[in-house]
Amino acid sequence: MAWSDQKIEQIIGNLLRAGVMIAALVVFIGALFYLIHHGAAPTDYRVFRGEPSDLRSLNGILHDAFALRGRGIIQLGLVLLILTPVARVAFSIWGFAEEHDRMYVIFTSIVLVILLYSLLGSGSAF
């Protein structure tokens, strides 16, 4: 089958679904660890403190997740969720390139640069 918008649409659909499901599963596993260890602790979100630095950066999140800390695992799931649309955009560039649609390769690349700036350039995160 030649590369067509339909084929790109099918792959994008599968990619989005898989990304969301994997992210939700990781968040759910993190929730179990988090609630087993902290379920009885009091909670308060009235005052904004901001997250500690280890939950703001990919290195810190990975470190916490592999140490099996619930909050770290949940945050890793949320990062996977944020990366799902980014992966969709990255894949679209490739799809449009296969269709030799130079204009849309450029448009999609602009969107990818904006997304990567948000993730990498806007703070100390990744």
């Binding site: 649409e9 902290h38 939950l55 949320l78 849309y104 602009i110 997304l115």
Partner: protein, 279 residues
């Protein structure tokens, strides 16, 4: 309230928001922030962070189905995402400097506008419009499976207006942590004269990318709390998947009316709380 109780209650509230949002087609994202701030006394910045990541989950889940059915136009989506992601970056930066009480007031106005849009009768679709030179050059015109079973083609109009409105939709999304699907649909359906079904599904397709553009900034700034985002994200996702399952059978007219009244009520509450400064 301990963490377990809080988590369960927030998950139930989010599940209902996701379910009703999917059933009415109005999206559950708009009620998450008022739900968390008014009923659970959560600081609005944490609420916006949690809402934003949940929006990515629900829109990507729904978009997966629509894209495969051939309703969404990925070229229109990709082109307009340049505007929405730039807008989202601006909105997210604004959110870090705007005082929270003003955020609440802007949010309230947005809710009232959404309620108004939900009640406004849809203007009849204009068919067989002439091709617009810019839209043709950008290859935005497309076709979709119509109710009659055949493929129906359409010509996109007013590209610059649509593009500008999309920047605004992105800015609102980044500022308030919502999908701003309602504004995206207005831009496509009203300004660009794209058929309603294509507008709503393409809007859904764009919401995830728009939200991801501001979510990175929110994460870096420490606005995304895992303990809060977890029940919100899982609850809304489960609710919207459930809603999509029963959508075909349900009579949604009355539900839509009730939900738009709830949205209007929450909007008034947010404006009031913003004005007296208790948010």
């Amino acid at each position: 309230m301990n963490t377990l109780e809080f988590t369960v209650l927030v998950a139930i509230g989010s599940l209902i928001a996701g379910l009703v949002g999917a059933l009415t087609g109005l999206g559950g994202g708009v009620v998450l922030v008022p739900l968390l701030t008014i009923f659970f006394k959560v600081d609005i910045r944490y609420a916006i962070g949690a809402s934003l990541v949940s929006v990515i989950a629900t829109s990507s889940g729904a978009a997966a189905a629509y894209v495969k059915e051939g309703f969404s136009n990925i070229r229109i989506g990709m082109f307009l995402e340049i505007a929405t992601t730039l807008g989202a970056l601006c909105g997210a930066f604004l959110a870090t400097v705007v005082p929270t009480r003003y955020l609440a007031i802007i949010f309230g106005v947005m809710l009232l506008y959404s309620a108004y849009l939900a009640r406004k009768p849809r203007t009849p679709e204009q068919r067989n419009l002439p091709p617009d030179p810019l839209a043709t050059r950008l290859r935005l015109n497309g076709n979709f499976p119509s109710d009659e079973g055949s493929m129906r083609s359409y010509n996109v109009q007013s590209v610059p207006t649509g593009f500008s409105l999309m920047f605004g939709a992105g800015a609102l999304s980044g500022l308030l942590g919502i999908g701003s699907g309602a504004v995206k649909v207005v831009a496509m359906d009203q300004a660009m004269k794209i058929p309603f079904k294509v507008s709503t599904t393409t809007s859904n397709f764009m919401i995830g990318v728009t939200a991801a553009a501001s979510a990175g900034i929110y994460l870096n700034r420490g606005y995304v709390d895992p303990g809060l985002a977890m029940p919100v994200m899982l609850g809304v996702l489960a609710g919207s998947l459930l809603g999509a399952r029963i959508l075909i059978k349900a009579e949604t007219r009355i539900l839509r009316l009730v939900f738009s009244l709830v949205i209007a009520f929450l909007g008034a509450q947010m404006i009031y709380k913003g004005m007296v400064g208790t948010i």
